[in-house]
């Protein structure tokens, strides 16, 4: 009964979403107040209905209702309750329901936090979101219904893929989806503005916090995915340029370009067309990512089931979104106007370079990801594009962008003076040179690339710190009295510095050894000794495992013992490697068990990963920077104030 309620709720949602889509956009175009007024409550209603549906699915999992096909496929009576709950979005159908929950949740948030916006604008935005939601609802109802019954019901479930039984799974998809779906809000704002023919700086100001919010969730989602691959997959790497990773990274790159371009549009009114195009692109590549991951054209831990029907549907949805929005863009964009002028040396120019570099990098990643798929689809042969391509393209493209991060905030809008910028950048430059050249010596190996990476990190970090100190001194007020969006920008840039330091050091100084070890053997990992003491058997709730016993010591002084595991889950033949890691913020010692080689010997992975935590800490700092920026006061200006400002701007123009 409960699953049927869930099913019924999403059917109802479809009708509400379609009504919202039609009434919102048409009502705003014709100026029909009753239709416009329908948009806000409709958004809340959809969120409520999808929540009911989602809870029905969660309930089915918790109650072990194996007569529901999806529950039987993705859980098991022995599975602990928190994994049963997380299994709700552990498969294709449920993860789409989660997507819908997020989609309607964002729309509901828009209708809640848009009190200062004109009602017609809100109706347009929600109308566009209604169409997007309806598209996904159709997808769920026709190809991926999570409430489908299994007749007769199964005695027990097939269990959740053991890889997914991890805290990383509980959090990774929701965060990533929050990001993907969040960009649909920015997309809706852009489409609404095009429909209304009102692309001005107020439009950019409305979009900005939503773009930043989506971006910060996407940042966290990607970072968590990387963290999960590192810990759970037992591969010991943090990024593989895997097509699935790329399909979340491309929206991030374009989204990053978007939040910078929105800044120009808000502050100076320039780049309007480009910003709109980015807003459309960000959501489009999010959809493309969803298509690649969900359709089964890519094979990975994310490809749950291969069903051509799903791929075709998603591709159609993608085509409809991209086609219609680009058509609208072509029809409306030329009327938008150019906005404020700027000199060759100005913050606008620097941000333009940032945008070009990010867009080119994103295109290069798309090329490397889609090219093999395209060739395969055309029957022209099978090939793959490996990490060397992505590294060779990505690093040189991002290097200038990283160098500009420090310079950008020192440049004035409209026209910047180079001497004034130099004055602020001379100390960071010195620090960068000294640290860049010196640090690799201290770390044990010098190379130009390592010096550059560490130097860039020091350059950005010191420019951020010196920039903040100078501003706090100049304004004679405290740190927290500064505008939050300004602080957020600096915090996010500082996060980039931390990230770059982590990447450089781990790439330059890590050691990875695959060894055959006998009990009693000792091996060096960095400055540490790792002693193998044997393997014993143990039993978990739904698995059996072989547990390695290792002693980690430094200069003969024992630090702790480490226990990597090799698990065999009862419900499948699939063995699982659980790595054991000793972390102290500056380095990881990473151990995982291979297999028994006879006579008590085991193959063992011994990795030493300096600074690897900094990669994820950097991402978290970026996300926190985004959070700080959203909380800026000016986004909460009351409608009256906004209107006043608009008249002032109109008078000034």
């Amino acid at each position: 009964m409960i699953p049927e309620i869930g099913h019924f709720a999403i059917v109802l949602t479809l009708f509400v979403a379609m009504a919202q889509g039609i009434l919102g956009t048409v009502g705003a175009a014709r100026g029909i107040p009753a239709w416009i007024a329908f948009a806000r409550p409709a958004a809340h209603a959809q969120f409520l209905l999808v929540t009911v549906s989602f809870l029905a699915l969660v309930w089915s999992f918790l109650a072990k209702d194996f007569s529901v096909l999806y529950v039987a496929q993705n859980s098991n009576s022995q599975l602990p309750w928190f994994y049963r709950m997380a299994a709700t979005w552990g498969g294709h159908e449920g993860s789409l329901l989660l997507w819908l929950l997020m989609q309607t949740g964002w729309a509901s948030a828009v209708s809640l936090f848009s009190k200062q916006l004109p009602d017609a604008m809100v109706a347009r935005v929600l109308g566009v979101l209604g169409w997007v939601t309806a598209g996904f609802l159709l997808f769920v109802l026709f190809t991926s219904n999570p409430f489908e019954r299994l007749v007769p019901g199964a005695m027990d479930g097939m269990d959740l893929n053991p890889l997914l039984q991890d805290i990383g799974l509980i959090l990774h998809p929701p965060l990533l989806y929050m990001g993907y779906v969040g960009f649909s809000v920015v997309f809706a704002f852009a489409i609404a503005a095009l429909l209304a023919g009102q692309l001005d700086s107020t439009w950019a100001r409305w979009s900005r916090p939503w773009a930043t919010a989506a971006w910060l969730f996407l940042t966290l989602g990607i970072a968590l995915g990387s963290w999960w691959a590192y810990f759970e997959l037992g591969w010991g790497g943090w990024w593989f340029w895997d097509p699935v990773e790329n399909s979340s990274f491309v929206p991030w790159l374009i989204g990053t370009a978007l939040i910078h371009s929105l800044a120009v549009t808000e502050k100076r009114g320039s780049f309007k067309n480009w910003t709109v195009l980015l807003a459309i692109s960000t959501f489009s590549v999010s959809l493309l990512g969803a298509f690649l991951v969900r359709s089964g054209v890519l094979t990975s831990v994310h490809a749950f089931a291969t069903d051509p029907g799903r791929g075709v549907f998603l591709l159609t949805l993608f085509g409809a979104v991209v086609g219609s929005s680009l058509l609208l863009f072509a029809l409306r964009a030329p009327k938008v106007g150019l906005g404020g002028r700027f000199a060759l040396i100005s913050r606008e120019s620097l941000l333009l370079i940032n945008n070009v570099l990010l867009a080119v990098a994103a295109s290069a990643v798309i090329l490397g990801t889609l090219y093999p798929l395209l060739l395969d689809a055309l029957g022209l042969g099978k090939l793959s594009v490996g990490p060397p391509y992505f590294n060779a393209v990505f690093v040189p493209l991002m290097a200038p962008a990283l160098l500009l991060i420090a310079a950008g905030p020192t440049a004035n809008w409209k026209s910047a003076k180079i001497p004034a910028m130099m004055k602020q950048l001379v100390h960071p430059a010195w620090i960068a040179v000294v640290v860049g050249i010196g640090a690799p010596f201290l770390l044990g190996r010098w190379s130009a690339l390592l010096a550059f990476g560490i130097g860039v990190s020091a350059w950005i970090a010191s420019a951020v710190i010196i920039g903040i100190v100078q501003r706090v001194r100049a304004t004679r007020s405290g740190l927290m009295a500064q505008p939050r969006s300004w602080l957020g920008m600096h915090l996010a840039h500082f996060g980039i510095a931390v990230f770059v330091a982590g990447v450089t050091v781990v790439m330059g100084y890590e050691s990875e050894q695959d060894l055959s070890m006998m009990p009693g053997d000792t091996v060096m990992a960095g400055d540490y000794e790792v002693t193998f003491r044997g393997v014993r058997r143990a039993t978990g709730p739904n698995y059996e495992s072989e547990v390695g016993d290792f002693l980690l010591s430094k200069n003969g002084r024992a630090i702790r013992s480490l226990h990597p595991e090799k698990r065999a889950y009862f419900s499948s033949d699939m063995p699982m490697t659980e790595a054991a890691i000793d972390a102290n913020g500056l380095r990881h010692v990473y151990l995982s068990l291979g297999e028994a080689l006879g006579d008590g010997a085991w193959s063992v992975r011994v990795y030493y990963k300096p600074f690897v935590d900094w990669i994820w800490i950097g991402c978290v700092l970026m996300a926190l920077g985004g959070l700080l920026a959203i909380s800026d006061r000016r986004y909460r200006l009351k409608r009256r104030a906004v209107r006043k400002q608009r008249t002032a701007e109109g008078a000034g123009a």
């Binding site: 997959l233 695959d514 060894l515």
Partner: protein
């Protein structure tokens, strides 16, 4: 600076960036394309000797031999078989009779020296490249019989 000059400078800068990027991309692209060959293609000499490539198929039952960290096994598409050697720790799901994809270089002796054996995520899952190898071999051999897997 005049508006026109500025625009020219911006366009020139943009073109230069795009040009450099295209150069980088194409250069890197050429070098890092990893082609895929089926065991049948490899045994008929279609695969290059000097380049890394991928092969895929089934790990032949009874072919896995370990010597410390070095593993020798045979990859088959049920028509032809290629001996493979790999040093290191194999992914969890590597086992006899299951699909596998390996990346490496072909030695003059006909041994495929793998430096990567690809990790797969699901026991029921067949790497599409391995499946492709089987399908190709199955189509080419006129023997009618039960389809492998």
């Amino acid at each position: 600076m005049k508006k026109r000059h500025k625009r020219i400078a911006i366009i020139a800068g943009g073109l230069a960036a795009v040009g450099i990027a295209t150069g980088l991309v194409l250069n890197a692209f050429q070098d890092s394309l990893v082609f895929f060959f089926t065991p049948t293609q490899v045994s008929s000499g279609e695969a290059p000797l000097e380049r890394h490539f991928r092969i895929g198929g089934i790990v032949q039952a009874g072919s896995v031999q370990r010597d410390g960290l070095t593993v020798q096994f045979a990859v088959t598409d049920n028509a032809n078989t290629i001996p493979v050697s790999y040093t290191g720790i194999l992914p969890d799901l590597f086992s006899e009779g299951k699909g596998v994809v390996a990346q490496g270089q072909l030695q003059g002796s006909g041994l495929f020296h793998a430096n990567e054996v690809l990790a797969k995520h699901d026991e029921n899952y067949m790497p599409p490249e391995a499946q492709h190898a089987l399908d190709e071999a199955n189509r080419n051999t006129s023997v009618r019989g039960p389809k492998p897997l």
